[in-house]
């Protein structure tokens, strides 16, 4: 192999392995002594840096690795992270409202209200800085308590949590009453429609 061919092979090996490759390993692939290989790779390193290339070779403890140049990260982020639409889903809004009105609240309590697992949504809300951890509940497992962030309050122009529209026991009782009435009404209807047919 001439120098050009050796360099091409080094490039192929570094590309394929993707991780740091010891000089010994390169020497095996190229059937040349380690010193020659090392000199060759270092030459290539200089050239990769000089030229307008998106990748370069770095040396780590006598091993060589091919990797992306750091100034390419910005473009890579655009490829790797598909831009998403950033409005909250209905489910996220529901969860957020629960946290806003019941804070501080644990995941488990949120799940009790929503009836479904909400790990993912809670994490997302934390990531978006709408809610944050607010200590731990003094209970077995010491679960994390979540609360809304200051940013959240600021957005809604709320001075403090006390300014949140209140939903208290009274409101809940009203809901219950309504539900009871509905059920009663349903039962009456059924009785009128089909007398003494289905015995329960």
């Amino acid at each position: 192999m001439n120098i050009k061919e050796l360099e091409a092979t080094i490039e192929a090996v570094l590309f394929t392995i993707g991780e740091a490759v010891e000089v010994e390993r390169l020497a095996v692939a190229l059937e040349h002594d380690e010193d020659t290989i090392r000199r060759l790779v270092r030459n290539m390193m200089v050239r990769y840096e000089d030229e307008d290339r998106g990748i370069h070779i770095i040396e780590l403890d006598g091993a060589f690795q091919m990797c992306t140049k750091p100034d390419m990260y910005e473009a890579l982020i655009k490829v790797a992270h598909v831009p998403k639409k950033h409005t909250l889903t209905d489910v996220a809004l529901e969860t957020l409202s629960i946290i806003a009105y019941k804070q501080p609240i644990t995941r488990l309590e949120i799940e009790k209200i929503r009836g479904v697992n909400c790990d993912h949504i809670v994490n997302k809300l934390v990531e978006y800085n709408l809610i944050c951890e607010a200590g731990r509940l003094d209970a077995p497992g010491r679960p994390i308590l979540f609360a809304t962030t200051e940013e959240f309050l600021r957005y809604f122009g709320i001075g403090s949590l006390e300014d949140l529209p209140i939903l208290n026991q009274e409101t809940i009782d009203t809901f219950k009453e309504e539900a009871e009435k509905e059920v009663m009404a349903r039962l009456m209807e059924e009785e009128q429609e089909e007398p003494s047919d289905e015995i329960e």
């Binding site: 192929a12 590309f15 394929t16 993707g18 991780e19 990797c67 992306t68 750091p70 990260y73 890579l76 982020i77 790797a80 992270h81 950033h86 409005t87 909250l88 809004l93 529901e94 957020l96 409202s97 629960i98 806003a100 009105y101 209200i113 929503r114 009836g115 990531e127 978006y128 800085n129 709408l130 940013e151 959240f152 957005y155 809604f156 122009g157 709320i158 949140l164 529209p165 939903l167 409101t171 809940i172 809901f175 219950k176 539900a179 009871e180 059920v183 009663m184 003494s196 047919d197 289905e198 015995i199 329960e200």
Partner: protein, 252 residues
């Protein structure tokens, strides 16, 4: 005429047919159908002994060949313009098959070259992998006002209340069963007439479910009211003995 080669494995009837055509070096557009059919049948016969599993498909083709052969034996009037060579359809099938077989050889060649290539796994730098976008809160909460948020919360809480409906939750599980009291009384009466005297426990064995127990109980109470049954229970929690009152029959 036998096949002078040892029994080869063919992938299907067309594969075998194509082999025979190529072996005999005959024009695919002018297949000597008598010869080919003969050889084909000969092969299938040998194969029959060797492998019964894949026979059916080969036999279908054999039938097709014989049919074509018989058609070919019919005299054709020279003037007949409508006449279509009975081999036509078969020729087209063989040709199409031959084309794909040819293409598969081409693919096979390419596969070798393409197989000498190495690819690389994704190696996202941590900076790229762990990137999270800063989304302005106003984007997230697009046109959510505080009033809307409260509305959402109210509906969530209402949904939850509905789920643990205060009245229905006391009912427990309600099994909906199609047992009507009237129908059941008819059944009970027939049962009582037949048995004369029977135990409450025993009659419960005729059905299952809470509804059945309740309807049976109600039915018996109803029949007692009508004077059709008398019951005796010696001690509390003891089985109840039910007796049919014969004289009630005349009354009703």
């Amino acid at each position: 005429m036998g096949i002078p080669v040892k029994l080869e494995v063919f992938e299907g009837p067309l594969d075998l047919l194509l082999h025979l055509i190529e072996k005999n070096k005959v024009d695919i557009y002018d297949i000597p159908i008598v010869l080919i059919t003969e050889q084909y049948l000969d092969y299938v016969q040998q194969m029959e002994k060797a492998n019964m599993d894949i026979m059916s498909e080969f036999l279908v083709m054999a039938a097709t060949l014989v049919k074509i052969k018989s058609k070919m034996l019919l005299p054709v009037e020279e003037e007949d313009e409508e006449y279509e060579d009975p081999r036509q359809e078969l020729v087209e099938r063989i040709l199409e098959y031959k084309m794909y077989k040819y293409a598969s050889f081409e693919l096979k060649d390419r596969q070798v070259d393409a197989g000498r290539v190495f690819y690389k796994k994704e190696t996202l730098p941590d900076e790229v992998k762990n990137f999270t976008e800063d989304v302005p809160i106003s984007d997230l909460l697009n046109d959510i006002t505080l009033a809307k948020l409260q509305g959402i919360f109210n509906s969530v809480m209402k949904k939850q209340v509905d789920k643990i409906d205060p009245i229905r939750s006391k009912f427990g599980e309600i099994e909906k069963e199609e047992i009507s009291l009237e129908d059941h009384i008819v059944f009970l009466e027939n049962y009582a007439k037949r048995e004369k005297t029977f135990s409450f426990r025993k009659i419960l064995e005729n059905g299952y479910g809470r509804a059945y127990v309740i309807v049976t109980f109600l039915g018996i109470l109803e029949m007692m009211k009508m004077g059709k049954l008398t019951i005796v229970q010696k001690e509390i929690f003891d089985d109840i003995m039910i007796t049919y009152r014969e004289e009630s029959e005349e009354k009703s």
